[in-house]
């Protein structure tokens, strides 16, 4: 399925090429490593920040460890498997570990209620309240459905890449996203 609105500027071939170079001689591997870092770091840090940690220090640590891990396992990379998905998977798993180990007192509340509405014209008020409710509903989606939806909506990943991260097929990812949208629409419609 190549009709893809989310097609990133860098295609799979670029990542496959980096995988090959990472597994090669050290000096060139390190140049490829730097290129991967330059291309991916904003996406990975923000992914960890917004979806998991809400903490600058934690998401920095996580991405740093993911990159060091990548360097460690570079000889075993398979160019046929998506390097991009692998990076997201590592960041996801490290993030989950980090927030699991976080002291409960540091637990942050989801911020979907943060821009609480106090004033404004009625229709604007209504729209903002509807938005807050939508955020609430997203956070209440079944876990896998929510993950597929947010990876697609906020990380701009293709269904194939999400499939690589979640360990599913692209078809199942599509099903999750469709179902997420259907759930959200049904709940919004019942307002």
């Amino acid at each position: 399925m190549q009709i893809d609105g989310n097609k990133p500027a860098l295609d799979d071939d670029a990542f496959a090429e980096w995988s090959r170079r990472l597994a090669g001689p050290r000096a060139d591997a390190h140049r490829a490593f730097k290129e991967v870092f330059d291309v991916m770091h904003v996406a990975l840090i923000s992914f960890s920040w917004r979806r998991y940690t809400k903490s600058q220090v934690m998401s920095q640590d996580i991405v740093q460890n993911a990159m060091l891990k990548l360097w460690e396992i570079r000889k075993t990379l398979d160019p046929k498997r998506s390097l991009k998905s692998l990076l997201y998977t590592m960041v996801r798993n490290l993030s989950l570990n980090a927030i699991r180990d976080r002291h409960p007192a540091q637990e942050l509340n989801p911020e979907f209620m943060e821009d609480r509405v106090t004033q404004g014209p009625d229709d604007e008020l209504d729209y903002r309240m509807r938005k807050q409710l939508l955020y609430q509903y997203i956070s209440e989606l079944p876990q896998r459905r929510q993950e597929a939806f947010t990876l697609s909506r906020f990380e701009g990943l293709t269904h194939e890449e999400i499939a690589g991260i979640m360990g599913l097929t692209a078809r199942t990812v599509n099903t999750h996203i469709t179902l997420a949208l259907r759930d959200l629409r049904a709940r919004m419609a019942s307002l």
Partner: protein, 316 residues
């Protein structure tokens, strides 16, 4: 690469829907935009990334400059390495056996057929003529169990302060020069062993199976521990993977853990009291350094693990 802003809905997700329905789904897609609330902007993320790269690069950067990566330099380097190896072998007449840090047993057979089991991080040296005219070894640091082949030529182990002399027997020698109160400790498993302080050879003693001797650095008098009559003399506990020490300073226990598990342990204690604290420990086949640290530390110190393979101890 875009990390924020508008990510389109995947056409396939809307494949089965009619036009107006699809529009409604797209409205929801749009409306979800603020779900994660305020977040750092792209330049802030880039600044975070720059900090990460500093650390990552210093941990991964190739240590050899690019100029060396042409095949010509490989050839040159190889020639040089061979030349060095040959000259070292010719010039340096002593042979060294060194056990790597971390778990696992290093054993070696000497030219005379004697067998050595070398504890982690220990080193022993002997000259190239070993076995012909003499059987002398130098234990520069560490702990070794010897199973010595019988021969008229005496088999001698030299440490910083002691000479151990045997003909055919098995015994353990331990001497870590870096310890807080370094001493040579000899324990005999079978046969008879003579031990003599270097500074006072007249104080020579014979040790029998089950007996052990200890000589502190700077001392002339051996402390002898006799065999307990009912106990069968056994091989040292470290060879069986156990971790057993009595009346040893906490700092020295940690040095032992560092070698056995190839970890780094820092003791943060200005007074040095914690380092000198006497300890006894018995752990059968410990699986990790942490198992021992937690046990030793109980009630006396706190420990944390800032990174894999690294521990920091502080007073309680």
């Amino acid at each position: 690469m875009k990390h924020r802003g508008y990510n389109q809905i995947h056409p396939e997700a809307l494949a089965d829907l009619s036009g107006p329905e699809a529009q409604e789904y797209e409205r929801i897609w749009d409306m979800a935009a603020g779900y994660y609330g305020a977040e750092p902007d792209e330049s802030e993320y880039r600044a975070m990334g720059a900090e990460i790269w500093e650390t990552v690069a210093s941990a991964t950067r190739p240590r050899i400059r690019r100029v060396f990566f042409s095949p010509r330099y490989y050839l040159l380097a190889a020639c040089f390495a061979i030349l060095m190896a040959v000259s070292i072998t010719l010039l340096n007449r002593s042979i060294s056996i060194e056990a790597p840090l971390g778990p696992g047993l290093t054993s070696e057979v000497l030219p005379d057929g004697s067998i050595l089991a070398v504890n982690s991080g220990s080193e022993v040296r002997y000259s190239r003529k070993f076995g012909d005219s003499h059987r002398d070894l130098i234990l520069t640091r560490g702990e070794i169990f010897f199973d010595v082949t019988e021969d008229d030529v005496p088999f001698r182990v030299h440490t910083g302060n002691m000479v151990v002399e045997v003909h055919g027997t098995s015994f353990n020698v331990r001497y870590w020069p870096d310890e807080i109160d370094p001493s040579t400790q000899v324990a005999v498993t079978s046969g008879i062993v003579s031990v003599l302080p270097k500074s006072a050879p007249e104080n020579v003693r014979e040790l029998r199976a089950g007996e052990s001797a200890s000589l502190r650095r700077g001392h002339n008098l051996l402390e002898i521990t006799s065999a307990s009559p009912q106990a069968e003399p056994e091989k040292p506990s470290w060879m069986q993977g156990h971790f057993k020490y009595t009346n040893i300073a906490l700092g020295d226990v940690m040095a032992e853990v560092e070698r056995r598990f190839a970890v780094t342990i820092d003791i943060e204690d200005d007074s040095g009291d914690l380092r000198r604290l006497p300890k006894g420990i018995l752990k059968e086949s410990p699986a990790s350094a942490e198992e021992i640290i937690a046990d030793v530390c109980a009630y006396t110190c706190n420990y944390r693990r800032p990174a894999a393979g690294r521990f920091v101890l502080t007073p309680h």
